[in-house]
């Protein structure tokens, strides 16, 4: 949206956020739940966008951090009844911390590699977390997963879907804000520098490894946060949540929405979840619709859904020139 000023972009995003808050309560209980889920996934997708869009690291293991956050929440709640009251806020912090810690560990292994090797290492590490979830029966319940006793109550009962939606929305908006500030900061600019020309950045004296590592850890922290919210939204954690498909979904969401735009991840998350989870309750051919959207986006909108306004602007600007009554002199 290069044709829009920064101020207008911010205002547009704010307006959309306000519309989401105002409209969601009127969409009925099931759609409210779907929108809440989309917001959680939006946080995960935005965290991945920090890597993919801003640092140029395509990770196929983002579900791992969602997984550790979700399992931490479920294990604390089922074993220690921790996180069912005000302590939920501690779980939020712990979830982000455990996400960051796992990313700090995985980053030591993964950051050395680039391109397709980075992709494969993150894939393998993600599968390790899935393997733990699936096989560590005594802790994770294995294949059966874990059922949470319920959503927390602090002052107001989060068991109410609407209250929970507002809270998740708050976390989403905060994450968007923090990540936005992050990419605007000098640190964020140097990440973009690394994406464009890592060698040049290194020659300029930047410790590119450290920059990438920190970005990786930050993405992990937000992944962990998304995990806590994901487990609490669904009331159930299963190895199925951590499986490779979830990582791929996150990646597709970012690409579909438009990588390197932050908001694009959120839009992609909303599009994919609503298409998949709402359309699949209506028609049996939902998979074709989803596939069609992916293919069309990649063919005609390499910049993702976020590039639509710019394209339209471009198209409209070009219009008079192609008309017969072109008033523009050559």
């Amino acid at each position: 949206m290069a044709f829009l000023s920064t101020r207008r972009k911010l205002l547009t995003v704010l307006a959309i956020l306000v519309i989401v808050v105002v409209v969601t309560p009127h969409t009925g209980p099931f759609l409210t739940l779907l929108i809440t889920r989309a917001l959680v996934f939006a946080i995960l997708a935005m965290s991945l966008d920090i890597l993919l869009g801003f640092t140029g690291l395509a990770s196929l293991g983002q579900a791992a951090y969602l997984g550790v956050g979700a399992y931490l929440t479920a294990i604390l709640a089922t074993r220690y009844q921790f996180g069912l009251g005000w302590s939920f806020w501690a779980v939020i912090v712990l979830g982000a911390l455990i996400g960051a810690a796992s990313a700090a560990l995985f980053g030591l292994i993964a950051i050395r590699a680039t391109g397709v090797y980075f992709l494969m290492i993150t894939l393998a590490l993600g599968q390790c977390v899935w393997g733990l979830a699936y096989r560590w029966n005594s802790l994770t319940g294995g294949d059966n997963g874990l059922n949470l006793p319920g959503r927390p109550t602090f002052g107001v009962a989060m068991a109410s879907d609407l209250n929970w939606f507002y809270l998740v929305f708050g976390f989403f908006a905060a994450s968007l804000g923090i990540l936005y500030l992050l990419v605007l900061s000098p640190f964020g600019r140097s990440l973009e520098g690394i994406r464009e020309q890592e060698v040049r950045m290194r020659i300029l004296g930047y410790n590119t490894w450290l920059h990438k590592y920190i970005a990786f850890v930050i993405a992990g922290a937000f992944g962990g946060l998304a995990g806590v919210l994901w487990a609490t939204t669904n009331g159930h954690v299963s190895p199925e949540d951590v499986v490779l498909t979830t990582s791929v979904d996150a990646l597709l969401m970012v690409v579909l929405g438009g990588s390197g735009t932050l908001v694009g991840g959120a839009i992609g998350a909303a599009a994919v979840l609503l298409l998949r989870e709402y359309l699949s309750t209506l028609v049996p051919w939902w998979q074709y619709a989803l596939g069609g959207v992916y293919v069309l986006t990649i063919l005609y909108l390499p910049g993702g859904l976020m590039s639509i306004p710019a394209r339209m602007h471009q198209w409209r600007a070009r219009e008079p020139r192609t008309g017969t009554l072109a008033a523009v002199p050559p």
Partner: protein, 416 residues
């Protein structure tokens, strides 16, 4: 006169909400059905829906005066998806009950949803033991119409002893349902003097058994298998190719009619146990198999029968209430008190809301049955254990004291 916009908007909003919340016709029974419609389990899901719909058609969608609204949702054989779809059925369609799920893990994921939303849940396929054992107190709105994993293998262990088998090697799918089936078999087989000398756990979805088959102990008297889905097709083929001459016995899903038509002659003589066989020689089953074949062009599997019988049980409850929805507590209580003559034989319920039913020991044979002109593989019933409950002969108190069957329980004390 100008009407303020907000009044118009408010009226519209009220109308929309009013429509959404309007109670449906008094005599409508809304049943949500969760079955995989896409993915590797799609064919299983088809069998499930077919079974239920066949009963619905036979009563013209009328359960004791109530018109049935039957809503199928694709649960993709994934627990998180089934939870979401159950929420959709409850919130959007306001169903009175939801039925189905395939995997045991799905059953464990759906049961808390029924408690949370105070909606009846009928696991017609998920066989996870604890749903109606140690955890049954947590799930007051759950009543099972299928079976519990270890229910058929308890008598089957007894049967294995009677065949004179002393030492059995086990090869079973590595997940909860496999553990519960093997555990039940081991408990009763070792209880009557047998020994499980080996347990091999290929991962769920294994297609190449090359690394596993050679490790089967050669001095075993028989091999016990528990396979599911595509595994059940591949394992007997590869076992036969390896030159096996030992008797092969197994859990019901290794040879159920869902996969049997696609198997080769190598499975002839294999013996398994389940609460249903399509080859059950009763007039009721003959009629069922013929009607099912006429309608869907194949032999019904236990997935079909179980859901057909579930529909029948719901119908019986609604007949008792005169077509009025009795509320979830009363519905479960009424169903739990039923004794019906189902396709699979007599079915009643124990105090944990698990069916008490016949268990059939079945041998795969190639023959013609039910007036069909070609030779086919059938699960011929060779022994019937009548009215088997989930605790077999152990007594519920003693049984519930032990932990749920797992990879490590019962411990493999005779393993070599």
């Amino acid at each position: 006169m100008k009407t303020p916009v907000w009044i118009g908007a408010a009226t519209a909003a009220c109308l929309v909400m009013g429509l959404a919340a309007a109670p449906a016709a008094a005599d409508e029974l809304r049943i949500g059905f969760l079955a995989p419609m896409t993915g590797p389990f799609a064919q299983v899901g088809k069998d499930m829906v077919n079974g239920f719909e066949m009963y619905l058609d036979s009563v013209k969608n009328n359960f004791g005066g109530a018109t049935v609204k039957f809503i199928v949702e694709d649960e993709q054989a994934k627990p998180p998806v089934s939870v979401l779809k159950a929420e959709k059925l409850i919130r959007q369609d306001q169903v009175h009950m939801f039925v189905g799920g395939v995997l045991a893990s799905t059953g464990y994921a759906l049961a808390p949803v029924s408690t949370r939303e105070k909606t009846v849940y009928i696991p017609s396929i998920p066989a996870a033991d604890d749903l109606t054992q140690r955890d049954s107190g947590k799930y007051p709105y759950l009543i099972r119409t299928g079976w519990s994993s270890s229910q058929p293998v308890h008598p089957f262990g007894q049967w294995a002893c009677e065949q004179g088998y002393k030492r059995i090697a086990v090869i079973a799918a590595d997940y909860a349902f496999g553990y519960e089936t093997v555990g039940g078999f081991q408990k009763s087989f070792e209880g009557c003097g047998g020994k499980i000398i080996q347990k091999i756990w290929p991962p769920l979805g294994t297609i190449d058994f090359g690394p596993f088959i050679p490790t089967i102990k050669q001095d075993a008297d028989a091999i016990f298998t528990l396979m599911v889905g595509p595994m059940s097709l591949q394992f007997p083929k590869q076992l036969a190719a390896s030159g096996n001459t030992k008797p092969v016995i197994g859990g019901g899903t290794s040879y159920d009619e869902f996969s049997l038509p696609f198997m080769g002659d190598e499975v002839i003589g294999h013996v398994s146990a389940l609460q249903y066989s399509a080859a059950l020689d009763t007039p009721k089953n003959a009629e069922f198999v013929k009607a099912y074949r006429a309608k869907y062009g194949k032999v019904p599997s236990y997935f079909s029968e179980s859901n057909y019988t579930t529909a029948q049980l719901i119908d019986e409850v609604m007949k008792k209430t005169g077509g009025k929805w009795p509320g979830p507590e009363q519905f479960v209580a009424t169903m739990a008190a039923l004794k019906i003559d189902a396709v699979r034989g007599p079915v009643s319920f124990d105090e944990f809301r698990n069916p008490v039913q016949n268990i059939y020991v079945k041998k795969v044979e190639k023959k013609k049955m039910f007036a069909y002109d070609k030779d086919e593989l059938w699960n011929t019933v060779i022994k019937t254990y009548p009215a088997v409950g989930q605790f077999w002969t152990y007594g519920k108190d003693e049984f519930l004291k032990q932990p749920v069957y797992s990879r490590d329980f019962p411990p493999c004390k005779n393993c070599e």
